[in-house]
């Protein structure tokens, strides 16, 4: 199995009747994801691509035993979806929604942590995660991934696809690929996922795709220096980004003097990672690892 999810993982889609929700439900079903339920208030009793829809997620969990959920609702309804999922007993919540007010995220994380400490959240503003050939929870294009032995943790969407595509072409498959989300406040962070990859027998090397802003890469470097025991290749995007400017999404912003691509790369290098300077060097570095 991949980390966190496998072929059997029973998935619910929150906001399944929406345009995005319904579209990606179809793509995920095609990929083989075991979507057992959807929810959408006022739409209970309908079906979306054969998936039963409930008014509340709690019914989806009760009747269909959903274990993981995908949040695909507009930003102002997303916090409610997180609370609902946590209370319904969902153990892995993948929040795709972009644009949630940060204090909403902050309160939701704190409340869920206090009351349901075992609930894991990926995102918000995450493309989801994929265990290639097994299951896909998110909006990633499944066809470009290939099963294999490299784990990927990334703060980016398209860049991850780009790198995974190149890896697949070069014959390097992926065990699990996780997009942690592009927001400044996210649930599972690099370090949380590194711990899972560290214990995952399928994963023989890890690739981290970082960005300017925050301290996730620095934390990863700290962890790498202590307990992590697999080869790690890292690329941190944004070496040319001017400080103080938001690059595309909310989380990608470096404050003066800290959270720059350079400082992050340096920290990772010092801790023993192969830190490369362009995305296309990731493949070379991983080929080196497996030589």
């Amino acid at each position: 199995m991949g980390i966190l999810v496998d072929r059997e993982t029973k998935v619910a889609v929150q906001g399944i009747t929406g345009k995005e929700g319904s579209y990606h439900t179809r793509l995920m079903l095609q990929y083989g994801t075991n979507i057992v339920a959807g929810c959408s208030p006022g739409k209970g009793g309908q079906e979306v691509h054969g998936v039963p829809v409930y008014d509340t997620l709690e019914e989806g969990v009760r009747h269909e035993k959903a274990e993981a959920s995908l949040v695909m609702v507009p930003p102002r309804f997303a916090p409610d979806a997180l609370y609902e999922a946590a209370e319904a007993g969902i153990k892995l919540i993948v929040c795709i929604t972009e644009g949630i007010p940060l204090l909403d995220t902050m309160f939701a994380f704190q409340r869920i942590k206090a009351r349901y400490p075992d609930t894991k959240i990926i995102g918000p503003n995450s493309p989801g995660l994929i265990a290639p050939g097994k299951t896909l929870l998110g909006i990633m294009p499944g066809n470009i991934f290939k099963g294999g032995k490299v784990g990927i943790i990334s703060r980016s969407g398209t860049l991850t696809y780009q790198i995974a595509y190149e890896l697949s072409h070069a014959g390097i498959g992926q065990s699990t690929v996780v997009g942690v989300g592009g927001d400044p406040l996210i649930g599972m962070r690099f370090i949380d996922l590194m711990k899972l990859f560290n214990q995952d027998p399928e994963t023989q090397a890890l690739c981290i795709i970082g960005e300017i802003g925050g301290r996730d890469e620095e934390e990863a470097a700290d962890y790498l220096g202590t307990d992590f025991n697999k080869p790690l290749v890292a690329y941190v995007a944004g070496q040319t980004a001017p400080p103080g400017r938001k690059m595309g999404h909310a989380g990608a912003i470096a404050s003066a003097g800290e959270g720059t691509a350079e400082s992050k790369s340096t920290a990772l290098k010092k801790a023993g990672a192969v830190a490369v300077e362009t995305s296309y060097q990731v493949v070379e570095a991983l080929l080196d690892v497996f030589k």
Binding site: M106, P141, T158, Y161, Y165, L185, E219, G238, Q239, G248
Partner: protein, 381 residues
Amino acid sequence: MKTLEHEGKSIFSRYGLLIPRGKVVDNSLEGKKVAEEFGGEVMVKAQVHTGGRGKEGGIKKASTPQEALQWTKEILGRKIRGYTVNKVYIEERVNIEEEYYLAFILDRSSGLPLFIISSKGGIDIEKVAREEPERVRRLKVNPLWGIHPYQVRREALEARIPSSHLTPIVSAAMKLYEVFIGEDALLAEINPALLTSEGRLVCGDSKVELDDNAFYRHQELHNSLESYQEEDPLERRARKEGLSFVKLKGNIGVIGNGAGLVMSTLDSISREGGSPANFLDIGGGASADKMEAAIDIVLANPRVNSLFINIFGGITRCDEAARGIIAAIKNLSPQFMPVVRLGGTNEEEGWRILEDSGVEIKVCKSMKEAVIKAIEYKKEA
């Protein structure tokens, strides 16, 4: 979104924080009039979206209305760190006994509001933290517990604020937390927080950053803020088109889908010896309309003499993206050959469509090749 000093102060005031009387003016005669109204002794302060105004001559003391007129005249129109001063804030002076520092900031690492207090205000807090760390205290606020006076008192005393000043400090900090939560702020800072000789705590300056994602909860406020008018005109246009655009200093115009991909494109250009003119993320979909707007914005920058479009086809397939690119380029007919790199789902069909289109495009298959071509293909200036 960051507010100007007077905008932040007006928010503070709504929450019961004390601010000196002040008025915004855009001409020197009005500056004089307001100074007269306030009794002559005033501060004249440039209203610009940047710090360090003081050092750049953007903050002046006036002792008479005539002096206020002069300073207003001198400051208006000036450029401060790239920002033109269009408005000046005339503010009454208060009797300062001490200058403190108070702030709440959303801390990414802990995911919590961070309360910062210092017995030394009026200068950059990072500098105080470096030079006199014992005078700065930081407290992570658990929002479910809230922040309470006892915590502020404890931190204030630890930061060496005398206990006789606690009451106004505590009251101000509690109100500042209400601003932070109530306005969806990412930062709410009072620096300096002036303790007056009357024992009141008055906000000497304001620094507020609001969460754009929470716009819908504060529409009236956000619409009233002046900040949007002062961005770069191209950035403003991009925002309206729903594009994520940041102007840089080079000459190669860059368009891509996905923030990380565009950042990595910029990184590659720099590494191969080129210099990007901008960051532009068109997001998902890559429709012809969006692509057209994107190219138009990038080419409106007179420094641009090369265009690099870098699209990874995921759910949106490369063939769709290719059709969008061609339609956009046909409509705009740029004066130099665009370098287009397509990769991902249906890439081969995408390449074929681009090559068969009859439009002058350099099609590249790998990113590295594309970057090198984009650097080479620049129009002679």
